[in-house]
Amino acid sequence: MDVLIGAGVLAATIRLATPVALAALGGVVTERSGVVNIALEGCMLVGAFFGVFAADRTGSLPAAIAAAVVAGILLAAVHALAAITFRADQIVSGMALNILALGLTSYLDYQLYSTTGTPSTIPLVPNVHLGFLENAPVLGGAIGDQSAIVWATLAIVVLLQLFLFRTVPGLRLRSVGEHPRAADTLGIDVRRTRYWAVLASGALAALGGVYLSLSVAGSFSDNMTNGRGFIGLAAMIFGRWTPVGALGAALVFGYGDALSVSLQGVKVAGVEFPVQLLSTIPYLLTVLAVAGFVGRSRMPAADGQPYESEGH
């Protein structure tokens, strides 16, 4: 039973869900404003690299996180420039930036750290030890020793949910994603709103990258995000474009991912499942969950559509 719902599996679920959730949150913000940003994968990757790079150069964790977030924002800004100002094809622009991010980070990592790797002494994001949970069954093991970024993510989910649905700027952001022309006629600056949303998505995804490099791995390696930005987009859809939903979706995926590790070597009726097939669990579980529980979801009405204000 422990391999299914034990503390270890739950802790792993949370760990594996966190980067996916952060990418998905980025997706929620940008798509709620009407811009599709599949460059989230790239934003994660530059976040992962520049976090390590800045940690190495400055030795300061806050500076490292700041640098990573800025890098994510800059990459997202290029996407915003293309998608919003130049009304470029958002998918192609996103693909291009993903390739760019992969090339750039690999290139710099190779130039800077090819033989020695990133220094092992760089400051890492600490775990938060919840002493009072030490002896709590399951709960203590599951959440008693998680990265600070895990808790930050949880806070971001709550704040973002409140922001989108309980604040004036959130209302405006949603209106821009649903009906930009209506928003425009009411004096809301559609382009500026979308710029902010895309930049925020880059920052959130970059934080997911930092989590991977400075919390999970303690180093950078080529393409270390390994498609989590895309999984995050799927989680965003599965979560119906809401922060809480995105977190839930990421947890489903993370749980499947955790199972693929915990079920290794477990025999069912004397038969051991091939490890390779165990790795398909998170993907199959996600599709089944969507098919079983969620059904049709409604995307923001103006998602992915460039906006051209009238007035010639």
Binding site: M95, F238, Q276, V287
Partner: protein, 359 residues
């Protein structure tokens, strides 16, 4: 869902200018990194088109890009976003590889069509599942196809590493047993013309598939229905064209194109299925299709462009000493600038007055 803002058929001027602009920008990047852009681009050109052999290799890369590009494009035409061309390609390859190796002694006249069919069907079934989940359960095809891409990779790990398709192979390359001679697509360039060319009949199949793509979409009732669903789903529905059925059909067709790509890689190039095989084509395909505006000629041209980058980029590294990652960066810049073709159009607009529709 998305309307091409611009069709290649309206004239190549803007894409060509975009590519040139992008190359200048890329050259700047190469220059900043401390290399000579002229040398770099000379190597790029030579690598892609420098000799008959290089051209034949470029064409070989263009084949799977073209077919997966068509896969993405046909789904786009029906309003669906097929991110799963990569997974469908792999399923097609596995199916073709299995059939080709299962009855290796059959004559080509039987085995080759059988292998072809297996590849296309494999991809079609895999794509069709995504279409069915969308039609029956409302599952967004983007989710399904992303997940399917990962799933098949791990299933292949199993099949080829210690599953039923694992071949007892000399040095542990995870691969299937070789397909029979009858399943092999022959090389179509005689050795005296291009020595050691690998250019196989799959190129012809890919061109045939492009014609089929065009014919299907613009010359058949089904293609009309698919386009109608893509451009006006509710209008199509009330006219008696059930969009849900068409979703399943078009995803199966999309899967078929990608599956054909997988079959061609097996029958034409590798003659077996390798683990970690033909990586990335299905992802590049999205850009290939969008760059080609989902039009047959456009997809052919953009597949060639990507293939040229792929082959030429290798020589930029080996001959001009430019890191392959820098090549990637240049490729990304080209793609990016083409995506932002409005920049170029904005400049072009100064010479022409656009006609605005009046309500």
């Amino acid at each position: 869902m998305r309307q091409p803002s611009f069709e290649w058929t309206r004239g190549p001027a803007i894409p060509v200018v975009s590519v040139l602009f992008a190359l200048v920008l890329g050259g700047l990047f190469v220059w900043i990194s401390g290399h000579d852009p002229i040398t770099a681009y000379a190597a790029l050109l030579r690598g892609a088109f420098g000799s008959p052999y290089d051209i034949s290799e470029t064409l070989l890369i263009a084949v799977p890009l073209l077919l997966t590009g068509l896969s993405v494009a046909v789904a786009f035409r029906a309003g669906l976003f097929n991110i799963g061309a990569q997974g469908q390609l792999l399923v097609g390859a596995v199916a073709a590889g299995w059939v080709g190796a299962q009855w290796p002694d059959l004559p080509a006249i039987v085995l080759l069509p059988l292998t072809l069919l297996a590849g296309i069907l494999g991809g079609a079934v895999y794509g069709g599942i995504a279409g069915w989940l969308k039609a029956a359960r409302g599952v967004n095809e983007v989710i399904t196809t992303i997940m399917q891409n990962y799933t098949i990779v791990f299933v292949m790990h199993w099949l080829l590493q210690n599953g039923p398709m694992q071949a007892p192979n000399a040095f542990g390359t995870p691969a299937s047993a070789p397909i029979g001679a009858g399943a092999v697509l022959p090389v179509i360039v005689p050795d005296f013309l291009v020595p050691s060319s690998r250019l196989h009949a799959g190129v012809l199949l890919a061109l045939l598939a492009t014609v089929a793509f065009w014919f299907l979409l613009w010359r058949t009732s089904l293609g009309y229905e698919l386009r109608a669903v893509g451009l006006g789903m509710r209008a199509a529905a009330q006219a008696g064209i059930d969009p849900r059925k068409r979703m399943v059909i078009v995803m199966a067709i999309a899967g078929g194109f990608a599956g054909l790509a997988g079959m061609i890689q097996v029958s034409g190039l590798f003659h077996r299925v390798y683990d970690g095989f033909s990586a990335g084509f299905g992802f590049d395909a999205i850009a290939v299709a969008l760059l080609g505006k989902n039009a047959p000629l456009g997809v052919v041209l953009s597949a060639l462009l990507f293939a040229a980058f792929s082959r030429g980029g290798t020589l930029m590294q080996s001959d001009a000493g430019i890191s392959s990652h820098l090549v990637e960066i240049v490729e990304a810049l080209v793609l990016f600038v083409i995506a932002a073709e409005t920049v170029v159009r904005a400049v072009a607009r100064r010479w022409g007055t656009p006609v605005k529709a009046v309500s």
